[in-house]
Subunit: 261 residues, 4 copies
Amino acid sequence: MLIQASCFLDFTCEFPVPTIFMLRPKSGIGQFVMRDELQVSPYVAMTEFADTYGNLCQRLVLPAGQCQLRSTVVADCADVIDVDYGAAWTPITDLPDGMLHFLLPSRYCESDKLGDASAEITRGCNTGYEQVEAIRQWIHTHIQYEYGTTDSSTSACDVLETKKGVCRDFAHIGISLCRALDIPARMVTGYLYELDPMDLHAWFEAYIGGRWYCFDATQHEPKGGRILVAYGRDAADVAFATHFGAVTLNDMQISVEEIIA
Amino acid sequence: MLIQASCFLDFTCEFPVPTIFMLRPKSGIGQFVMRDELQVSPYVAMTEFADTYGNLCQRLVLPAGQCQLRSTVVADCADVIDVDYGAAWTPITDLPDGMLHFLLPSRYCESDKLGDASAEITRGCNTGYEQVEAIRQWIHTHIQYEYGTTDSSTSACDVLETKKGVCRDFAHIGISLCRALDIPARMVTGYLYELDPMDLHAWFEAYIGGRWYCFDATQHEPKGGRILVAYGRDAADVAFATHFGAVTLNDMQISVEEIIA
Amino acid sequence: MLIQASCFLDFTCEFPVPTIFMLRPKSGIGQFVMRDELQVSPYVAMTEFADTYGNLCQRLVLPAGQCQLRSTVVADCADVIDVDYGAAWTPITDLPDGMLHFLLPSRYCESDKLGDASAEITRGCNTGYEQVEAIRQWIHTHIQYEYGTTDSSTSACDVLETKKGVCRDFAHIGISLCRALDIPARMVTGYLYELDPMDLHAWFEAYIGGRWYCFDATQHEPKGGRILVAYGRDAADVAFATHFGAVTLNDMQISVEEIIA
Amino acid sequence: MLIQASCFLDFTCEFPVPTIFMLRPKSGIGQFVMRDELQVSPYVAMTEFADTYGNLCQRLVLPAGQCQLRSTVVADCADVIDVDYGAAWTPITDLPDGMLHFLLPSRYCESDKLGDASAEITRGCNTGYEQVEAIRQWIHTHIQYEYGTTDSSTSACDVLETKKGVCRDFAHIGISLCRALDIPARMVTGYLYELDPMDLHAWFEAYIGGRWYCFDATQHEPKGGRILVAYGRDAADVAFATHFGAVTLNDMQISVEEIIA
């Protein structure tokens, strides 16, 4: 399906603030970017680079005063996500070298502390897709989606205590519980068609049966129509904006629409 | 300056033909891509990857029958290119590891056979920028720009005999003569504002004084307004289209315009 | 100076355990590996790959029963480390793209929580080398080096409370406090000549004045004679052994000697 | 099988000569390096980096006067190479992105000129392994192995005229003929157990049936016991020594022995 997504941001700064944005998706497995546009007003020189995960990062200095950015993309992506209850857990010895990285604990995903919790949640499951789906459903059932209950320093373990969070936190718990079972897992940010309430979104992927599968604990059931913007180990790797200075975000508007050709 | 460039291609194939295009520029040193769009009609699934030089490569299968592609980009790039007659030749021992690669002979650049020619052409020059500019001017003066005199198997040595070629050939000679002097050199394809006759363009870059400088032997003097699409050792690395089968190119339209904001 | 270092490990497992080791250094800035040898007994097939930081990782399955490994290296490295009190803090806008990565919080380095602590510790310092040296000395003075007080889940914030740890913890605090000041910092593991007590060692590096400088808070003053084995954001990236199963480490012997040619 | 291989080089230079060596193998698919040692006398500072293919490259400046290097390696490698007459040609559309690179013409492999020759040589073969084996055998039968008949500027087309060459030339022809059939092919340098006459060796690999297979046109039949040192498109990428200045090679001794554990 063809999706057009856009992210509008309106900032005010007292002083110039160096900033790194991660707003622009690239083509990859499962999506092809037909059109991509980034506008900034007033006009500010920008540069772009790819980080260690291949994510596109835009660098600029937000000027003192007001500044607005609009990132728009049209991409061809899957309307349904792949589901395969038969996908089996991959023995460590068979994991490709590049996947091992995603078994490790990270800033917001203290998987090294969640072995027991994960074994409990997946008790009775066949190893592999079933375990991850059990994790996904457990989070969907036990964690309440509520704005304002967490912030950028909240980790998976923190949320497991309060039982409240937003998409970022749901993903962190999913990732941590998967890694505790030696299932490689990573964070994904991007756009989701018909997300309600509409926002930039985060979910996770687990590597089972020789490939990555999408899992979103904020949704009741598997849902397609996603444009991936960035991958990483957790939120520390995929922040849509990293500001090195004080910035006020006045407004943020996200839209995701299907283009009927 | 803001430039909008577009490349329109119209093909006919008797059978489906797997094809790799290198049409879409990316942001880098000297340019930032504000907008990028790729349309194909009839719609065909495409994938994209980055090659070893970081160039974006689009893969698709041109269907039997007619197919049209249009690639459009808006980029912020330099209106003048940097010139520095004082830029010195960098001793081999001081070249960054990644530059050594561009000292080697390649498919169309038999630099290993052009040591004497290069020494002759640059006799009396200080080493560095002066040498490369002497090479650039020598090519501009001695090689005649003429369509239809070369093809995709023509090398630098071939053109040095016939003394006729197009931008691709001018660049190959420049690269070969530079490498013969142990100056790293590489091929660049892209768009040039006010190129006459208008076409996809090729030129070269030489690494002197610790950075890459742009040299275009098809132009009378240094000229800015360029959008870089791909880099490589020579034409074998930067073909805008590589077809694995028989294809007829019915039409190709290039346009490059300045956007006055 | 030429240093020969070796790491001997003796394991017992009840069942085969997939393991990743990070024992073998590679040549890089500041060191050249003259000789490198890895022996395993009983003989077990191994493979090797480089992770996202370029660190060499050896993969094998420790067999049930006893297994011994010995990694030996002879490397040419600096006998004194570089010190430069004039090295200035690099504005974010001037940091190379690849350094931005090391400004981010990570699993054991909650730099996002240590802004105030870092400002306090470096009060009165010129920005740059002075700040990092102040951090290094603060850790050396305030944190007690003591085995058995921390484990593999201990973070920098944890150690700042207990004030006790080992080299790993000293490095984590150093990294966290640097990042809180927007100074890129990374963890290094390797060998240190005349380390007492002798062990595999960890320290950190900070990026100031356009390059990485070595800082070791476990030492009274700057000390050379180091062979770097791995780099990363923190201990999660540079574990010398990651076991996916239960393993008993029966013995570990490290030796580091100077070779007088 | 465990193989110990060594390369001894003795040079004399009138002036210091910057040089890049590609002597040290690394672990990869099919081999694990147990021990690796590089000695140089008189002692000269060296650095090492990995090129775009991942090959290890050693940089140094050969001093005026005499200089000797000895590179020794002990590696675990396959005693027989894989052969599979059923391995099928992979359609272009199914080739992994990274393989496309090896379909292109290169400095010494003018595959773009050898379409007819290749079709002739492989007439009647099933596509895939059979074609490449037919190419291998054709070269073995029609090209005479003779020292002194070619040099570092000789290309595949040159050798197809004279019908004489050494391992480097045999490999170039094999690579060119494969690419002319849209079979990805690459050059490999390294050591071969029981090579006669003993020397540093070159052969080629072709990508068929989803993996790389080894083909050596200098040998009567498939032969294992190989330590790979470098990969690339052709000799321009894998020269064991690239000198930027005049050097006399006084002596070169290669030895390859099996270690019976």
